[in-house]
């Protein structure tokens, strides 16, 4: 009876911890195996502890090149998708124009369509245009599928914005540019930031669309895929762990900043 009561009281916590464990388990495995010293080419069985891979993260031919390429594409795709997506979101919320309804629903298409289909049709398009497959075709493809996520995130924020704030800014001697920079943009910023983060993550780890449209260029996900068929270097786990840590640090930093702001308010 007491156990049942205890369970009732702590069910939410238990469920939360179980979910967290489920989510984190793969990351733990990746991290543990980044300290492995495998026999042979495959890093699937624990042998012995070693920091070799951490000391030579670029020890595998071609890997760091592909990583840097992926990061570059992700940064540019994020910038492109965020700028375009923010403008589209504002246009869709603020203005009444022809085809607004159509655009509003078509913008979700890239989210809904199977990636393979989109990848194939993009390839058809590029080949018909006679485009050279590589960095720019990947970038164009990434901006395209990131757009809908940015638009969705920014639109939600812009829709909840009180139009009187901009009127107040205008009333207080801010011209159109000043109003946008001083009031509209700062208030929309959380939505834009969320969209940008999504775009970065999506672009960085995209495989299917990239694989179709890359030509001979190799991004990091493609490199991992390729090497998995011949053997998995421990360095892949090192990169994976490092990315995970960076993300965790970002989250922690934003929480600390948020808390400090909260404490100032109180």
């Amino acid at each position: 009876m007491t156990f049942v009561n205890w369970l009732k009281r702590n069910l939410v916590v238990i469920a939360g911890l179980a979910t967290l464990g489920y989510l984190l388990l793969p990351n733990v495995i990746v991290t543990v195996f980044s300290f492995n010293k495998p026999k042979g080419r495959f890093n699937y069985e624990w042998q012995q502890f070693s920091t070799d891979a951490w000391q030579h993260p670029c020890g595998v031919a071609g890997m760091c090149g592909s990583l840097s390429l992926s990061l570059q594409i992700a940064v540019w795709a994020t910038i492109g998708a965020t700028v375009l997506g923010t403008m589209i979101a504002f246009a869709l919320v603020r203005y009444r124009f022809r085809a607004r309804g159509a655009i509003n629903s078509l913008i979700f298409l890239p989210m809904a369509m199977p990636e393979v289909v989109m990848a194939a049709s993009l390839l058809t398009l590029f080949l018909n245009l006679g485009a050279q497959l590589g960095f720019y075709t990947i970038l164009i493809a990434h901006i395209m599928f990131c757009l809908s996520f940015v638009v969705t995130a920014v639109k939600a924020r812009v829709m909840s914005m009180d139009p009187r704030l901009e009127q107040a800014a205008q009333d207080l001697y801010a011209g159109p540019v000043q109003t946008f920079l001083r009031v509209t943009l700062p208030i929309a910023a959380p939505g834009i930031a969320a969209g940008a983060l999504l775009a970065f993550a999506l672009s960085f780890d995209d495989f299917i669309i990239t694989n179709f449209n890359a030509g001979s260029t190799v991004t990091f996900p493609m490199f991992v895929w390729g090497s998995a068929q011949r053997g998995t270097p421990v360095q892949i786990n090192v990169i994976g762990t490092a990315m995970f840590l960076v993300a965790v640090l970002f989250v922690l930093a934003s929480m600390v900043i948020g808390n400090r702001k909260g404490r100032q308010k109180a």
Binding site: R164, Q170, D171, L172, K265
Partner: protein, 382 residues
């Protein structure tokens, strides 16, 4: 010596239409420099649209707006020497109180704003709150920030769009006095939009009562209240008893009317109806002008007073006064407010009474109007 008229607001024939809907019919209005002017009306009467046309947030469909000698009809809001206190304040949520107040100064390129902002925050008693964000303040405090943010720019005219609507009653009364004090102190022209007739009468020097996109009547609060020109004003500002009567004779300064067998006297100057003999007129009297006497004491009523007989249908005691509803032959629901000074114990529902009042408190209106105009609007607003 020339008088400063740079804070005059002159609206000439301005109107606003949205497609087929006319929000404001062509309107002429002059608000003199330094006055506290209220636009009063129920929601949807065009008062806010009028205010927004002065602010530049709405472009008039016709007519012109002048501030002093300057025409501003087509100037964008950020080029007009006018500031607005918005309904629900529209404080910038991402800026602290100091930066909210400094916003207008900074946009005009003024570098050293610290002293001015601090002085302004002192004026509205918010010096301690400078580094807080708007959502951390109470409604009344936010309201004062909105006033400070507008006033710091020394506008020619301050526009207030239902600034007290979101506050509770007690705080609203307090802020009314506060705003009035600030207005007297800074001497800026205030144009105040409200649906609360008491608020308009308490604060403003001049009130324009608006209905369906038109100004029904304009004047000092006491003038509007004592001499309503239309049934809408009579019903919207406070309560009026209106009776239909027939003109019997006109003798000198007075018009004698027949209503339900009795005679009523109406001063000619207080009649806005055409008033030819044999014609109709709507006679009005405010509930608090009427004295209630028990029918047994009818003999004691002084000569020369307008009188009507009736029976008390209902009475409600509300502390300072008692409100009676009288069923009389001329009007089934005649309202009378009596101060609770010497309460006559016989004045209970069912008692026969005589209602009497000084003829000077009677007013006459054009009978072509809807007798109930503004009744619901007034109730909704109160």
């Amino acid at each position: 010596m020339t008088t400063d008229n740079s804070g005059d607001v002159r609206l000439s024939g301005i109107s606003k239409t949205y497609g087929a809907f006319t929000a404001v019919h062509p309107l002429d209005l002059t608000v003199p420099q330094g006055s506290f002017f209220a636009l009063l009306g129920a929601s949807g009467c065009g008062k806010t649209t009028t205010l927004r046309m002065i602010a530049g947030l709405e472009e008039p469909s016709s007519g012109s707006v002048h501030l002093g000698d300057q025409e501003v009809t087509h100037l964008p809001p950020y080029k007009r020497p006018v500031n607005t206190v918005f309904q629900s304040y529209a404080l910038f949520p991402h800026l602290d109180i100091f930066e909210n107040v400094a916003f207008g100064l900074r946009r005009r390129g003024i570098k050293s704003v610290k002293k001015q902002v601090e002085d302004m925050l002192e004026l509205v008693q918010l010096g301690e709150q400078a580094r807080k964000k708007p959502h951390q303040l109470s409604g009344g405090q936010q309201q004062r920030v909105a006033v400070a943010r507008a006033l710091i720019n020394h506008p020619k005219v301050l526009l207030l769009d239902e600034p007290l609507g979101a506050l509770d009653l007690k705080l609203r009364r307090q802020m009314q006095l506060e705003l009035k004090r600030i207005q007297t102190e800074v001497g800026i022209t205030f144009v105040h939009v409200t649906h609360d007739q008491e608020e308009a009468m308490t604060m403003a020097d001049t009130v324009a009562v608006m209905n369906a996109g038109r100004v029904e009547q304009l004047g000092a609060p006491s003038d509007l209240y004592e001499n309503p020109q239309t049934t809408f004003v009579a019903n919207f500002l406070g309560t009026s008893n209106l009776i239909e009567a027939e003109i019997d004779t006109r003798s000198g300064e007075d018009i004698v009317l027949k209503a339900g067998g009795g005679k009523l006297v109406l001063p000619r100057t207080r009649c806005s109806a055409p008033g030819t003999t044999g014609g109709k007129v709507l006679v009005g009297v405010r509930p608090e002008k009427i004295t209630l006497t028990h029918a047994d004491d009818a003999g004691e009523i002084a000569e020369g007073r307008n009188r009507i007989t009736g029976k008390i249908a209902d009475s409600s005691f509300i502390g300072v006064s008692t409100q009676y509803v009288i069923d009389s032959p001329v009007c089934p629901e005649f309202e009378v407010y009596a101060q609770n000074i010497d309460r006559d114990a016989r004045l209970v529902p069912g008692a026969d009474v005589v209602l009497h009042w000084n003829p000077a408190h009677t007013f006459g209106l054009d009978p072509a109007q809807d007798i109930d105009a503004g009744v619901d609007a007034g109730e909704e607003a109160a």
